[in-house]
C-alpha cells in the first residue's frame, strides 16, 4: 500500500519504520532536515517515569506507562537489528529528592504513590542518607530520597537517528524540509501541491492544530547541559511546592533539565525566569553543575487534548495520531501499536482492553 506520513517526530518515525518493514511503500514528510530538530520528542528528556507522572496523570497513564519499559526494550532490540545502532536505555530506577524546606512535598509524593494500583514494578521506597549515597554518591546534600523502581530514560537523540536509518534501510522515502499545510483522507498537501496516497497518517503533533481544532499546545522549556564534573547515573526529580524539575542523564556527560509547563502556545525562546528556575534546580542539586556548559536552551509545545490523553481520529484513508502531551516516551509505543492495529483491522492486546480505552478512537 502507498502510505503517506505527515510529521517525522517520534510517532511519525515509529509508524514509518514499522510500516516500511511490513513492506508498505512509505513516504515521510518532515519539516526539518531529517534529524527532527523541531520535534518535541527530540528536545524532550525522554523520561520513562510512570510513578512520577502518575501524580498528575492518574492511574491509567500509570498502568500503561508501566508497560513502556518492556515495550522499549523490545523496540530497541529490533531497531538495533535493523539499523545497527544501539540506543541506550537506562532503567535502574529514578530518585526523587527535596530540599529540607520542601520535605513535605516528598512525603506527599510517597503517600500518593502508595495509593496506586498494584503493578509488575516494585513499589517506591525510602532511601536513607547512606542508601542514597550508595546509589548516587554525588547526591550528598540530601538526607533522604524516594526511590522509584523501574523508572528511567532513553537516549532520544540516538533513537531519532537510528529510526531515520532504519526507515531508509526498509525502503522508506523522505520528503525533507517540507512544511505540510493540511492532511486529509488520502492526501497530504505540502508546498501548495497535493500528494495522493492510499492511506495517510497525520503525526504532526502540535503542528496539526490547523486540522485538529481540539488540540492545544502546552509550552515546555528545557536545557541541555554538558557537565563533566557531575556523575549521576539515574534521573533525579527535585520536588518543590511550585515546580517539579527532573534532571535526566544522557551519554557523554550530557544532562537534560526540564521542564516548565505553561498553558501557552508561544514558541518564543526560553524566558529568563524559566532559565533561572531550571539552572537553580541544577545548581542546588549538585554544585558541579556550576561549570556545566549550556549546550542548548529549547522551548516547544506539547500537543494535548482536553483530557491530556492521546487520541486517534480515524476516517476512510486517514488516521490522525496525536495528543501525547508530556508522555511521548511513556505512551508512544502503546499509541503506535494501537494505530497499527486499527490500520490492520486487528484487535489489540485483548488482555488489556480496559487500559487501551485510555486512548480514545474517534471517527473523524
Amino acid at each position: 500500500m502507498r502510505i503517506g506520513i505527515a510529521g517525522a517526530g517520534l510517532c511519525g518515525r515509529l509508524l514509518a519504520w514499522q510500516l516500511a518493514r511490513q513492506g508498505h511503500s512509505v513516504t515521510l514528510f518532515d519539516r526539518d532536515s531529517g534529524a527532527g530538530e523541531q520535534s518535541a520528542g527530540l528536545i524532550a528528556a525522554a523520561m520513562l517515569a510512570p510513578y512520577s507522572e502518575s501524580l498528575r496523570a492518574g492511574n491509567k497513564v500509570f498502568q500503561l506507562g508501566c508497560r513502556a519499559l518492556r515495550q522499549w526494550q523490545g523496540l530497541l532490540s529490533l531497531l538495533c537489528h535493523d539499523s545497527g545502532v544501539k540506543v541506550e536505555l537506562r532503567h535502574s530506577g529514578s530518585i526523587a529528592v527535596a530540599h529540607r524546606a520542601d520535605a513535605l512535598e516528598l512525603d506527599d509524593m510517597s503517600r500518593r504513590l502508595q495509593a496506586l494500583p498494584a503493578v509488575d514494578l516494585q513499589r517506591p521506597y525510602w532511601l536513607s542518607a547512606s542508601e542514597l549515597r550508595a546509589a548516587e554518591p554525588e547526591l550528598d546534600n540530601f538526607e533522604r530520597g524516594l526511590y522509584l523502581p523501574g523508572e528511567g530514560c532513553l537516549d532520544n537523540r540516538a533513537l531519532f537517528a537510528a529510526l531515520g536509518q532504519a526507515i531508509d534501510k526498509a525502503g522508506g522515502r523522505w520528503r525533507r524540509q517540507q512544511q505540510v499545510e493540511t492532511v486529509g483522507a488520502g492526501f497530504i498537501r505540502s508546498g501548495g501541491a497535493s500528494h495522493r496516497f492510499d492511506y495517510v497518517f497525520d503525526c504532526r503533533g502540535f503542528g496539526a492544530g490547523t486540522d485538529l481544532r481540539e488540540l492545544r499546545g502546552v509550552r515546555g522549556e528545557l536545557l541541555w547541559v554538558r557537565a563533566t564534573e557531575v556523575k549521576l547515573s539515574r534521573p533525579v526529580r527535585l520536588m518543590h511546592p511550585r515546580y517539579q524539575i527532573y534532571i535526566a542523564p544522557k551519554p557523554d556527560h550530557f544532562y537534560v533539565v526540564g521542564a516548565t509547563e505553561i498553558e501557552s502556545e508561544s514558541l518564543a525562546p526560553i524566558t529568563v525566569r524559566s532559565a533561572l528556575e531550571l539552572q537553580s534546580a541544577l545548581y542546588t542539586l549538585h554544585t558541579g553543575f556550576a561549570e556545566a556548559e549550556i549546550v542548548q536552551a529549547s522551548s516547544q509545545c506539547r500537543p494535548a487534548f482536553e483530557d491530556n490523553l492521546p487520541r486517534i481520529y480515524q476516517a476512510e484513508g486517514l488516521m490522525r495520531v496525536n495528543g501525547l502531551y508530556r508522555h511521548g516516551y511513556l505512551l508512544g509505543p502503546t499509541l503506535v501499536a494501537r494505530a497499527l492495529a486499527l490500520f490492520e483491522n486487528r484487535a489489540v492486546d485483548p488482555g488489556n482492553g480496559s487500559l487501551e480505552e485510555a486512548i480514545k478512537v474517534i471517527p473523524a
Partner: protein
Amino acid sequence: MSENKNSRVRDSDANDTWTVYGQTLHSRLLLGTALYPSPAVMAAAIEASGAEVITVSLRRQAPASGGGNNLWDMIRQLGKQLLPNTAGCRNAREAIALAHMSRELFATDWIKLEVIGDDYNLQPDPFELLKAAEQLRRDGFAVFPYCTDDLVLCQRLVDVGCEVLMPWGAPIGTGLGLLNPYALATLQHRLPEVPKIIDAGLGRPSHACQAMEAGATAVLLNTAVAQAAQPVSMAEGFKLAVAAGRAGFCSGAISARPTANPSTPVTGTPFWHQQ
C-alpha cells in the same frame, strides 16, 4: 426538582446573595483554574463547585508573543465571570501593566491584584499592593486586592477605593487553613460593610467552613481542589462546606458553655447516676 415541596431552605439560599462592584453573586466559592490534571478535570471541578467567578492567570503565558491557547477558549466557554490575576508580579509597575493587558484580553475590568513580596511563600507586598490598587482604581478597574489580614492595610485599601478585600488565610498553596482567626474577626468587626473573600492557604473543606462561619463573605481556592487526588469531588466538598459555614454564620450559633446543659430533663434520674 422545582416541584420539591421542601424548598424553604433552597429559597433562602437563593436569596442569600452578595454584591461586589455592582454585580450580584449567589455562589460564595471562587475557584482558580491552574494546576489541574487536565482541562477536562478543571471544567468538571468548576461545575461541581458551583462557582460563578473563576480566576485566570496570564503572567507566564507570554500573551505578547501569541501565547495563550485553547485552554483560554475552554475557560471562556464555561460562561463564568472571569477574574484575571496578576500572579507573578513583583511590584506595582508590573502589576499595573499586566492588569491593562488582561483587561484587553479578557474584556473585563475585574482584576485580582497580586503583588508578591516574598518569592518563597508568595506573601503579598503591602506597600506595592496599595500603590497598584490606587492607580488601578483610578484607571477604572474593579480591584480585588490579595492582601495580608492586617487591619491598617485593609483600611488603606478601602480608602483608595477597593470595594472588596481578599485577606489570606495562610500563605498560597500551604493548605494550613486560617492561621489568624483573631485578625479576621477584627476585620469583620471594623470593616463590616466591606465584602471579604478569604483567599489562599485553605486546604480542607473544614477550613472553608470555619472561614465562612467566622463571617467571611466568600472564599477563593485553587490548590486545595486542583491538587486533590479527586479534584471534582473535592470541589463538591468545598461547595457544601461553604454552604454549611454560611448557614452557621447566619443562624446564630449557640455560645459554648463549660458545663453540659442537657436538653432532656434529668429530674427522674436517680441521684447516684449524677455523680
